[in-house]
């Protein structure tokens, strides 16, 4: 780093943080150094356990009680933040350096009004009188784009939507007029259209006040679009720092290079993703030498023996690696032809007019006063061996569709026909049981999807006991051994318990449980969104392999358009319980017809340069399905809405045999 400390707002050097566990210390951050200039946005990016959040927390003295800063300095305006006494540290926190957090619901105090919580900063750091304070609070709320700021100031956090809460957090951070804003995963808990709003807001404020931003995130695409400089962290160390362009065009560290290749996008269709083997090491794992060496395809004996030192590559680009320039092995491409235009046999699953309404009860007697129309009449068909992606933001009903298909949510109306013969709706639970094996589901959270008290073997065997009661115990054992090998786990896994496996491995186990009953359709409910990017790539590859081998049909429920474009043949976009656009992935991605789809695509950050893409920003949040807008559900947020949209439900329009959308005014 060409270090000129006087230019830097914040210069961190040689930071080492350790956790005390029992008697021993576990190093969570090792020798981290980075610097931010005034008004700059530096992104600290890394997967889970890389130590990026801990690094940020240490700057404000917010470390958990069992974590200790063991070495290093953090120079901020001529003072070392890490050596300040508590009282001086408090004078900086909230005033000179403010922080916003990932989960705006839990980060705000639920029993205090948002106005009070913002005013508290003004009282603490600016000693403003009460009336002045209230005026400033309303100003701040207006500034972060909250409509009706006078009223909202007396609201409690639970009365606001997720996006609004994050705006309140930003208002709270701005209240002190800080020089540096630390944003710890500020948009991870938000929908992609809201994420775009929040990032726009942060950028606008940065321009207006010249506030430097330390953005902490795991999302490389977001970094690509937003940051000026990037520091990549892996397992507690910063492995590469560079300007944003440099890093994404000329990544030097093998980890960075592999990570960029493991992000699914439309370019990798028909290929395997460059998954990094294994998973991110836990801090307590002792790894001599380079901490990435065990997963690095280039690793030499030198890497395993000695830790690499920082190397300056010029232009502010630095890397911590012995073999930064060595070429990476090529990814094997899929030999199987793309199935986009293969003639398909009869459909395995036909869904028509599916409705899932949950009754709403109120009053003293808990009478039903209305319905939450979580799924409000959707149709789709699934053929063997293909993947249909169901895309939408939170609350659009996509997960409910999945649950309805496997009988976990009550179906109001509609038909779910499997193999063109049997309609599953209205079947008695006992009559339904034999058909349960046809449709299976993989869940989002790998940590709650396996019973902690049962061995992996018992978990996988459960479905076989129900659906293949004729199997002898020996047959069952050998079949389970096959399955566990098929999903890429060692044979002794069957006797072990869930807590001994990592998140990615647990998703493999969940897959094995589903496959045990020979399903024709597997519903993947956000099944990779809780995983690190490098592990997600492994699971996506596995899903593809299994589809080829077993001819499975996937209903892939997700909010991640990158995953969709990589994996799915067809895509259905949902908004408030209805499918608004439906078509071949290529068609929809290239030429979205529904304004919502268009906005969704525009809002999702990608690794390609962002300049060429149209900016289409949606105002507001997804409305509640309790009381959906009349006419077209989308009209309050639609930039093209006309009078007819407010009253009439839109008709369906077809653009090709496969591509259709429901809109009064489809985008050309």
């Amino acid at each position: 780093m060409s270090s000129q400390p006087e230019q830097h707002l914040l210069a961190v050097s040689g930071l080492r943080i350790a956790f005390r566990q029992g008697g021993a210390g576990v190093t969570a951050v090792q020798d981290a150094s980075f610097a931010i200039k005034p008004g700059e946005m530096l992104a600290l990016v890394g997967e889970s356990g890389s130590g990026k959040s801990i690094t940020a927390l240490s700057l404000l003295g917010l470390l958990p009680p069992n974590a200790v800063v063991e070495a290093g300095q953090a120079h901020f305006q001529g003072r070392d933040l890490l050596a300040l006494p508590a009282s001086e540290s408090r004078a900086i926190a909230g005033r000179r350096i403010a922080m916003i957090f990932q989960e705006p619901m839990t980060a705000l105090n639920p029993v205090l009004t948002v106005g009070w919580q913002i005013g508290e900063v003004l009282k603490q750091h600016h000693q403003l009188p009460r009336a002045e304070r209230q005026r400033r609070v309303v100003d701040l709320l207006a500034q972060v784009g909250i409509p009706d700021p006078e009223q909202r100031a007396s609201d409690y956090p639970h009365q606001l939507s997720g996006g609004m809460r994050q705006r309140v957090m930003i208002a709270m951070a701005l209240a002190g007029q800080p020089e540096l804003l630390i944003a710890d995963e500020p948009t991870t808990a938000l929908d992609v259209t809201v994420q775009a709003q929040i990032m726009d807001l942060l950028q606008a404020l940065r321009r207006q006040y010249g506030t430097a931003i330390l953005l902490i995130t795991h999302n490389l695409a977001l970094v690509n679009e937003q940051a000026d400089r990037v520091a990549v962290m892996y397992a507690g160390s910063i492995v590469e720092t560079a300007g944003c362009d440099d890093l994404f065009r000329r990544p030097a560290h093998p980890y960075t290079r592999l990570l960029l290749r493991s992000i699914p996008s439309v370019d990798q269709r028909g290929q395997r993703l460059a998954a990094i083997t294994g998973s991110v090491p836990k801090p307590e794992e002792a790894i001599p030498g380079c901490r990435f060496a065990p997963r690095c395809p280039l690793a030499t004996p030198q890497c395993q023996a000695e830790a690499p030192l920082f190397r300056d590559l010029g232009h502010g680009h630095g890397v911590v690696c012995h073999l930064a320039e060595a070429p990476l092995p090529e990814v094997q491409t899929d030999t199987a032809a793309s199935k986009d235009d293969v003639v398909l046999p009869s459909p395995v699953l036909q869904v028509t007019g599916l409705q899932v309404w949950f009754p709403r009860q109120s009053g003293l007697l808990r009478r039903t006063i209305g319905y939450v129309k979580a799924v409000d009449g959707i149709d789709f068909t699934l053929w063997p061996g293909e993947t249909l992606a169901l895309v939408g933001e939170s609350g659009c009903g996509k997960t409910t569709v999945g649950k309805a298909l496997v009988g976990l949510a009550p179906v109001n109306a509609g038909r779910i026909v499997v193999h063109g013969k049997t309609d599953l709706t209205g079947l008695h639970p006992r009559a339904l049981r034999p058909f349960r094996q046809t449709i299976q589901m993989i869940f989002q959270d790998p940590f709650s999807s396996l019973d902690p008290r049962l061995t992996i073997g018992e978990t996988i065997a459960e479905g076989m006991e129900i659906h293949q009661p004729g199997l002898t115990s020996h047959e069952r054992q050998s079949r389970m051994a096959d399955l566990i090998a098929k999903v890429g786990l060692p044979a002794d896994a069957l006797r072990r318990y869930p807590h001994q496996f990592s998140g990615g491995q647990r998703q493999r186990i969940g897959l094995a449980r589903s496959l045990a009953v020979n399903p024709a359709v597997v519903i993947c409910d956000e099944c990779t969104s809780a995983l690190d990017v490098s592990v997600q790539a492994q699971i996506l590859n596995l899903l593809k392999d299994l589809q080829h081998e077993l001819g499975l049909a996937y209903l892939f429920i997700t909010h991640d358009l990158g995953v969709v474009s990589f994996l799915a043949e067809r895509i259905a976009v949902m908004y408030l319980g209805r499918i608004v656009e439906h078509g071949q992935t290529a068609e929809v991605m290239a030429a979205p017809r529904h304004p919502y789809t268009k906005a969704l695509l525009a809002a999702a950050p990608t690794l390609d340069s962002a300049d060429g893409r149209p900016k289409l920003r949606l105002p507001g949040d997804v409305p509640s399905p309790i009381n959906p807008p009349a006419g077209c559900h989308f009209h309050p947020r639609c930039p093209y809405a006309q009078a007819v949209c407010r009253t009439m439900p839109p008709p369906s329009a077809s653009f090709s045999p496969t591509h259709s959308c429901t809109c009064h005014f489809p985008v050309a």
């Binding site: 927390l57 004078a91 900086i92 922080m99 980060a107 105090n109 639920p110 508290e120 003293l364």
Partner: protein, 326 residues
């Protein structure tokens, strides 16, 4: 919020009816009026005539549910269920089985001393628990925290009987700071109540502090505390403005449990310190096998408990906006 409180209030009615039914089952079906009469008269005097006479004198000569000897509404009202059980709802407590004195006046007289004893115990315990638990939680794993936890385990391991006997012996007999027992209304009350209140508080501290400490620890670990610290607030502000208000939610949810514990303490303290309250009255009734008094006390106990419950609900709504805006 009004909906919430109204629903809580309405739920009390079926609950109290259930309590009433249980009381009736225990006192009149399991143990019939004939049994009562025989117990009161003793084996020798229990001739059928004496039993009938005793029942007549005490108002137990009606049928249990339906009186077929009379007509109209009286079929239902001239019954034990109506006169002895449902009547409790409108404050008709009947007469003592032993002395035939009306219970209503006696109970009204005894409510005040009982409340004078238990209300301070409740409030002082609550306040001490909150303060000490907050101290322990904010200094987690320090020496102060460990000392408090140790003290709590020791307090929890000693029977309240020992506290009472030991306290009486030390403060009243040996040091002669307070009288051993007794009660006077008015200003003298403090002198008599000081020791029982102190002992009552001591008995509730151990488990209370430990429980509240976990509540505070839970809250201190939450994200909003990190936000408050990131604002640069002094630790005292973080604890008293942010943590305390949130911790009051589980603390209030636990108050009904504490009210139930008060009944136990009340019985013991009133009997040891000869305080003329409801607890002492219950003990007397148990010793004289006076079913009527015990029956009334069980019902009254649940009414008092539910009144406390309703108060808690109001406080709950006041503290938690999520309940208020339901």
């Amino acid at each position: 919020m009004t909906h919430y409180l109204l629903r809580r209030l309405l739920y009390l009615i079926p609950t109290l009816l259930g309590v009433n039914l249980i009381v009736f089952l225990l006192f009149f079906l399991v143990n019939s009026p004939d049994d009562m009469a025989r117990q009161a008269l003793g084996d020798k005097a229990s001739t059928p005539e004496n039993v009938e006479r005793w029942k007549e004198a005490h108002g137990y000569h009606y049928p249990l549910f339906i009186n077929r000897d009379v007509a109209g509404v009286a079929r239902l009202t001239e019954t034990i269920f109506f006169r002895k059980s449902l009547a409790l709802f409108w404050g008709d407590f009947g007469r003592s089985d032993m002395t035939l004195e009306p219970l209503g006046a006696e109970i009204r007289q005894r409510i005040a001393p009982s409340l004078c004893l238990t209300t301070p115990i409740f409030l002082v315990t609550l306040l001490t628990n909150i303060l000490v638990a907050m101290l322990a939680a904010s200094r987690r794993a320090s020496r102060i925290d460990l000392a408090i936890q140790l003290a709590c385990v020791l307090l929890m391991s000693v029977s309240s009987l020992i506290f009472i006997i030991g306290g009486q012996y030390l403060f009243a007999k040996t040091l002669r700071i307070v009288p051993v027992s007794g009660f006077l209304p008015g200003a003298d009350m403090a002198k008599f109540l000081l020791l029982p209140i102190g002992i009552g508080v001591l008995g509730g501290l151990g488990s209370g502090i430990r429980l509240y400490r976990t509540f505070f620890l839970e809250e201190i670990g939450k994200d909003y505390v990190r936000t408050a610290r990131a604002k640069g607030l002094p630790e005292a502000n973080v604890l008293f403005r942010h943590v305390l208000k949130n911790a009051m939610i589980p603390i209030l949810a636990n108050v009904p449990m504490q009210i139930l514990m008060l009944f136990m303490g009340n019985l013991l303290l009133e009997s040891f310190f000869s305080i003329p309250g409801l607890g002492g009255y219950t003990i007397m009734a148990i010793n004289t096998q006076d079913f009527a008094i015990v029956r009334v006390m069980v019902f009254l106990g649940s009414v008092l408990y539910m009144a406390g419950l309703l108060l808690t609900d109001i406080c709950y709504a006041a503290v938690d906006p999520r309940v208020r805006f339901q």
